[in-house]
Symmetry: C2
Subunit: 310 residues, 2 copies
Amino acid sequence: MRKLSYAVIGTGAIGGYYGGRLALSGQDVHFLYHSEYDYVKANGLDVKSVNGDFHLNNMQVYNNTESMPKCDVILVCMKSTQNDKLPQMLAPIVKDDSTIMLIQNGLGLEQELAKSFPNQVIAGGMAFICSSRVSPGHIIHADYGALTTAYLNNKYDEETAEQIKADFKNANVPYTQGDDLNMFRWRKLVWNIPYNGLTVVLRTTTDKLMQNPASRQLITDLMEETVAGARACGANIKDDFVQKMLSNTDNMEPYAPSMRLDYDNHRQMEIRAIYSNPVKMAKAAGVHMHKVEMLEQQLRFIQENEYNAK
Amino acid sequence: MRKLSYAVIGTGAIGGYYGGRLALSGQDVHFLYHSEYDYVKANGLDVKSVNGDFHLNNMQVYNNTESMPKCDVILVCMKSTQNDKLPQMLAPIVKDDSTIMLIQNGLGLEQELAKSFPNQVIAGGMAFICSSRVSPGHIIHADYGALTTAYLNNKYDEETAEQIKADFKNANVPYTQGDDLNMFRWRKLVWNIPYNGLTVVLRTTTDKLMQNPASRQLITDLMEETVAGARACGANIKDDFVQKMLSNTDNMEPYAPSMRLDYDNHRQMEIRAIYSNPVKMAKAAGVHMHKVEMLEQQLRFIQENEYNAK
């Protein structure tokens, strides 16, 4: 088996953790940084992890993709709010046989990227992880860590896919390759749609939303709308999935999802990928997700008003 | 024509203004006060009004209904959040031929009261007025002022109704008596439902909601759902009414509706009358107002969570 080269685009809490694990296990990993570039180049990356702490020195770090080598596997871990810049950013590092894996939230992102890279292999990665960047070069990985992937249109090179799987497993990352990207994306939305938006609009955390009867019912309504939208779009999510998501969340620690963190830190929220795209696709398939659409509308108001005011 | 006696139950910005105008014009008006009782008994009521300032001294004020005389016309101007106490409160002042007029927001309140007072005449009053209580005994009436009424089931005494109309007109209050209470209530909801709830949930004012394309569309959606609900409940609101409400609001000064003021002052919000009752009635008539229901759910969360936390 050949040795693959990896690029990590957007080295935050997610990219830093997965890329860091790969580098720690001896893989050839190239990290793109922006604001943290100088710090990490000088001091390396520090990860406190429930699966064992580690520190990386002398990392292969870059502050633009023009100076990076072309890579076999490109892990895109930045926020989807910047995806319109992705084709230009990736152009210098993509080869004919590159695999581009979007470890991001939301729907339709792989299809969008495929317009710019029609010949490359494109995958979606669903990260089930609690990880946060606490300061430049410092990540805390608090819980979970599994990565589930599927390839767009199930188009991929068998040998490369097997090698990627082996590399992640060797790096101590639970890694599952499935065959239904659309289903994976929609299933993740069933959780992401209610909790991300409502914790922002109602300025609260998951536990408080679950305890109040009105908001708990609203979460259930939003999940059921999402399941109806998913089914119309060909992802036949099972009947008991909503109840499973609710009881999983009941058993979680009080949690502020990524969109709430983005809001608190005055960063752009991933409204388009998590809300607008699913609403649009479900509507085109004949299902009007009323309450999901209302959440989208409220988030757009918040994004455009409060951020401008600050 | 006989001289009618009036009671004002809940003498705030609305009751103080209308009751004050009636008293100023020489009518026999009895005011119920709670926290402001001592102040108003000593200092009277001061009203700064676009239609002319006035001050009332030696008012007939009370701090409980047991000490009040029975009255011909009872103007209920308190928040509908306290309406469960209304039957007990009104019992001492209601006569067989009393007219009870609910100058309140929301749907179904007259029907609820009729269960306790099946033989009395019950009316709904829709106040189109910008009026606020700025301190004990001090009201500022900034704009508008018209009162539109209709009688529940169109059941009323012709002579008394004519006298009430004459008394209000004589008191310089534009007063219209209509014959479709259900239509009036629903028409007012078309404005109240979007602006009251959204200014609370999104912590904003009417003008900002109108300027942002996403929230403007959401307002339109909420209005159209309300019109659909109204029609299912027999109030055949015309097609152009939504556009009229939107352009009226475009021409208004930036405005914080009553629910936003209640929220800001940690008072109970009128969720039941403005949201829960309409949602329930429309659903019973076959129309699911999804987004209105979501606003209700969000307001209940805010009411029950933030108020407890404070």
